[in-house]
Symmetry: C2
Subunit: 253 residues, 2 copies
């Protein structure tokens, strides 16, 4: 099982100006790929902190995604921080530099050209020369912070991730009090190895008061756990406690 | 200047089932209080990881907020993890236990009663006995994950936070290329100590292509930096580059 972490870089998120918009997308993508997403850190635009976090994450996780801080302005410090984390120098990529000059013409500034500065030994991921590439340094993928662009760039990264097993997920939407069913859920989880049971209460006017989730890498096991839980809830609280089911799909292969 | 961090606990966020909903709120509240929010960690429902993160954060930051994992089910492991981080035992609070029994009557389960288990030496924050309290252990505030309840409970915590100085923020919405104005922004930041300049490009059909933000604890300084930047942009790109301004308010006292 591959494991992943993300480092989200941005004062704008920590000061409440911008709502973080990439973690949920990344979580869904990694779940579908069967890669366990285990940690997210949000840190300010401080190069030393970014470098320290990158170094901690990259030795523990198979894949690290950074988000943000890759533009041309003074608060875009991610790329130099990553070079420093890996102990390598930055060098201006000639091909990217030419593309920037071609695009901005005589309006080209040093700020623009800084976007062509890459850590020595880095890999640039792109389908062809029309893509602005994603920078990969070791197991670290350097992604932009703007959500639309993050999503587009993730398509360049996806083929480079090793997806060994896919996760599947099922859910029971029920009308029950969490405290009342706590022991049932625990027993179902204990009886179904490899299935993680989650319980999420609602306090609004939804048609259910709790959503129970069943995650695992084997679709039949997830289905078994879900159905066993359904039976146990009916035995305890009656048929009416079950509002509806989301059965797990077979994993895409 | 007080510094804060948050630990968001929840497999549901890391597997993409639920979009994290408390960080943006907390960021705005802390900004308004003049408390610097410097770090967020999102971790799974694993007691050892929670305990380790709490211990790392509580020695570095003045305030630590945890979010999630405080219900009655097997995946709610935050409170025991925090007790273990502080090296103290859990003990059942008699008053809370009585309130739970009064509420659930003969349907009361051990799951319900577990919600009355508190680390020894903890403080319970509440206005009166009708509030379910927020658990405080040292400088750690243990908040629920459900966003509506997080917001309500934050009102109980706010009076206990020491707000030494309030931050103010201003913004210029401009029509400009980030690379072209990068050196201007850097000069403005260098010339206005205590003011942090941020630059956030837009790639959609907004009426501006970049939002420039000016944050600091002195309203006059923030205003000065903002106006100096406006003048520099006009000198460089003309009046038309300035779409509109958000001038900083005086901080609430």
């Amino acid at each position: 099982m591959r494991r992943a972490a993300a480092l989200v870089i941005g004062n704008e998120i920590l000061t409440g100006k911008v709502v973080e918009g990439n973690v949920a997308f990344l979580a869904k993508e990694l779940f579908a790929l069967g890669i366990r997403f285990e940690r997210v850190i949000i840190c300010p635009d401080v190069p030393e902190e970014i470098a320290r976090d990158v170094n901690e994450l990259r030795v523990t996780y198979d894949y690290v995604f950074t988000s943000g801080g890759v533009g041309p302005t003074h608060d875009d410090v991610t790329v130099p921080a990553i070079a420093s984390a890996f102990g390598v120098a930055l060098a201006r990529d000639e091909a990217l530099s030419l593309r920037i000059r071609a695009h901005f013409g005589e309006r080209t500034t040093e700020g623009h050209l800084r976007m062509a500065d890459m850590p020595l030994g880095a890999t640039l991921l792109a389908r062809d020369t029309s893509d602005w590439p994603v920078l990969q340094v070791g197991n670290v993928f350097v992604m932009p912070g703007v959500p639309d662009i993050f999503r587009r760039k993730f398509a360049l990264v996806r083929p480079h991730l090793e997806a060994r097993a896919s996760f599947v997920s099922g859910a029971i939407f029920a009308w029950a009090d969490e405290g009342e069913i706590a022991s049932t859920l625990e027993q179902v989880e204990l009886a179904h190895e490899g299935v993680l049971v989650g319980s999420y209460p609602r306090f609004d006017d939804a048609d259910h008061s709790v959503k129970l989730t069943f995650d695992g890498s084997s679709a039949p096991r997830v289905l078994n756990a879900l159905l066993a839980c359904k039976q146990a809830l009916i035995a305890k609280l009656g048929e009416a406690s079950i509002v509806r089911l989301d059965l797990p799909d077979e994993p895409a292969s």
